[in-house]
């Protein structure tokens, strides 16, 4: 355990973000540095807060399903599935088992492409761009498969309250099997490149350590928690969709390295091994998928809308997103179309706190690597806070557009005058 003896803070305070090439999404870090070493770290998220919950409480449940799906570009299915499961528990709608299996297959396919993108981004933060290109090249295969299954590469809009909107036909099962074989071969290559490469080990071993005791206290979720030795995986602990019928176990780094250190390298190990696990889950789901079973418990949307308006109660819908547990708390009151309360807990919400102990004690060079190692999923914003002197002004997209048009007009005037 790296003990950090904090001397008199003689360092200087430096800010990383909100716009910084290391973060693909805006989050601001204020760091007290002493030379290269980080003494104290503090972060301010929310530059990308779009008030999704506020919008959700002004839409009916059918609209909220597709709004929830667009909370995050990478884990769309997660939010749609969690919200639908919450509403199904309130309105007592039980989807058919075939729908459960299709949901599980799509969710696991999403985990594969999300983990691959994360591996690429982590490699880019390490300055290892070839691994970034390789990961994204390999990821294209599952994106094309998902595009064939659901009609779109990112937002699948397959999950609906009461089941799924599209079936998986036997030919599509054959396509799935073909791309799973592709991933069986590339899995060996990914393991050798991401886990056996000397330069990655040099950079990631003992970087951004989250000790098991601290991990227990700060309640992280997903691979970040499992890499620090906490056996927490919603698919195992909480029986839902088709996961209850499969025997899966949480992946911990000691399966590959034989020890648990809770550093960035262990997080890479957990995520790469989870790729193998997902491939196994999908194969098992296709084999055990029940033949019959209607796709939607209530096919007619009008009837569904009426039933949801009459529903009353509160429930929690959960799913193990690629980054960790996603939980939607929904409360409906009879007679109101819009949910009375809707709280979305994305996986990074719980992992934010873990940044502080990870960053302190490491070097500046490790900041992008550590920040990316919990696979943060922050999201984008449409307004800019501009600081002029001490007066802060709020500019929206239209103001920015107006400013740029005015400047263009001024330049054209100067050119024509000149």
């Amino acid at each position: 355990m790296k003990t950090l003896e904090v001397k008199k803070p003689s360092g200087y305070t430096s800010q990383f973000g909100p716009a910084h090439p290391a973060f693909k999404e805006p989050v601001m870090f204020t760091l007290e540095l002493e030379g290269e070493r980080i003494l104290k770290a503090d972060f301010a998220p929310g530059q990308a807060h779009r008030g999704i919950e506020w919008m959700g409480m002004r839409r009916n449940c059918l609209q909220v399903v597709f709004l929830a799906e667009r909370i995050c570009g990478l884990c769309g299915i997660t939010h749609a599935l969690s919200f639908c499961r919450a509403v199904e528990q309130i309105a007592q709608i039980q989807p058919s088992n075939r729908a459960h299996y299709i949901r599980t297959i799509i969710a696991e396919l999403e985990r594969i492409h999300s983990h691959l993108l994360w591996a690429g981004v982590e490699a880019h933060q390490l300055g290892f761009d070839s691994a970034f290109y390789l990961a994204l090249k390999v990821r294209e295969n599952v994106l094309d498969l998902l595009e064939a299954l659901t009609g779109s590469r990112v937002h699948y809009s397959v999950i609906q309250i009461g089941g799924v909107r599209r079936d998986i036909t036997p030919e599509q099962c054959a396509d799935i099997e073909k791309s799973l074989q592709f991933y069986d071969e590339t899995y060996e290559k990914l393991v050798s490149i991401f886990l056996e490469d000397t330069s990655i080990k040099m950079r990631c071993r003992d970087t951004g350590v989250l000790t098991p005791e601290l991990a227990l206290k700060l309640c992280p979720v997903g691979p970040t928690a499992r890499a620090s030795g906490i056996r927490k995986d919603v698919r195992v602990d909480h029986p839902y969709a088709a996961y209850a019928d499969l025997d899966i176990h949480p992946i911990l780094p000691d399966e590959y390295t034989g020890e648990i250190r809770g550093d960035v390298y262990d997080r890479i190990v957990v995520r790469i091994l989870e790729l193998k696990q997902s491939i196994g889950i999908i194969r098992e789901c296709i084999a055990k998928m029940p033949e019959e079973g209607d796709l939607l418990a209530i096919p007619k949307l009008g009837v569904l809308l009426a039933k949801l308006k009459a529903a009353d109660g509160e429930a929690v819908g959960r799913h193990e997103a690629p980054r960790g547990e996603v939980m939607h708390y929904v409360r409906l009151t009879a007679g109101e179309e819009a949910p009375t309360a809707w709280k979305v807990k994305a996986s990074s919400y719980s992992n934010y706190m873990a940044w502080i102990p990870m960053l302190e004690g490491d070097q500046i060079a490790d900041i992008p690597v550590i920040v990316a190692s919990i696979d943060p999923c922050i999201s984008c914003t449409d307004r800019v806070a501009m600081v002029r002197g001490d007066h802060t002004e709020l500019l929206t997209k239209d103001d920015l557009h107006r400013l740029s048009v005015e400047r263009m007009r001024r330049i054209q005037a100067e050119l024509s005058a000149g």
Binding site: G46, W54, D237, P239, E314, Y329, S350
Partner: protein
């Protein structure tokens, strides 16, 4: 570690909450071919008995705080603490939900970050989004809202201290009536600033 059934857990919560205890119920939900059920315990209790209940849970199994949810029910604000215990044991996890109803005149609640530090993010968010004062919070700064967000406006509140209608700028409505000609770029006035109810 002997695993208590949801009913036993409800009784433990009842005894830990003492006179602050209001009600408790257990719910189940089964999915999949095998039909294994997931277990949830919903407990309503008062503000004073929140910390003893959580302390009692810590003795059983160190809980994982998922999030503190909220609900604005007219003259009261419910704070809903979601905690998991028995995670790590396949199919045994129990979700314990402690609901505390605070009336809007006295929005104070003791912090639980000294028991479980992971709850800080949630408590800071409740403070800025609902106007709740968390007594003893170690770091009460704003988390998600920007520094220049007006004071006293709490986005999740549905009463007068919620988001005023002049702050709402429906982007989907912007520039819909007359099509904006790019020369002047003056987007025509907005649709009347309704609360955004779906038409």
């Amino acid at each position: 570690m002997n695993i208590l059934t949801p009913q036993e857990l409800a009784d433990v919560m009842k005894e830990a909450a003492g006179d602050g205890f209001q009600s408790a119920r257990c719910t189940e939900w089964a999915e999949g071919v095998k039909g294994l059920t997931s277990k949830q315990v919903w407990v309503n209790l008062s503000r004073e008995s929140l910390r003893p209940a959580i302390q009692r849970l810590i003795d059983i199994h160190y809980p994982h705080v998922a999030v503190i949810a909220f609900a604005d029910t007219g003259e009261q604000v419910d704070l809903i603490y979601h905690l998991y215990i028995y995670y790590g044991i396949p199919h045994e996890e129990v979700l314990i939900t402690l609901t505390v109803s605070l009336d809007k005149t006295d929005l104070k609640i003791p912090t639980i970050t000294d028991l479980i530090p992971g709850a800080l993010t949630s408590e800071r968010e409740k403070q800025e989004m609902l106007g709740i004062e968390v007594v003893g919070i170690p770091d009460g700064r704003r988390l998600f809202l920007p520094e220049d967000f007006p004071e006293g406006v709490y986005p999740w509140r549905k009463d007068e201290s919620g988001i005023p209608s002049d702050m709402i700028k429906e982007l989907w409505a912007t520039g819909r009536e007359g099509l904006p000609t790019c020369a002047t770029c003056e987007a025509p006035p907005l649709a009347p600033a309704s609360q955004g109810e779906p038409s």
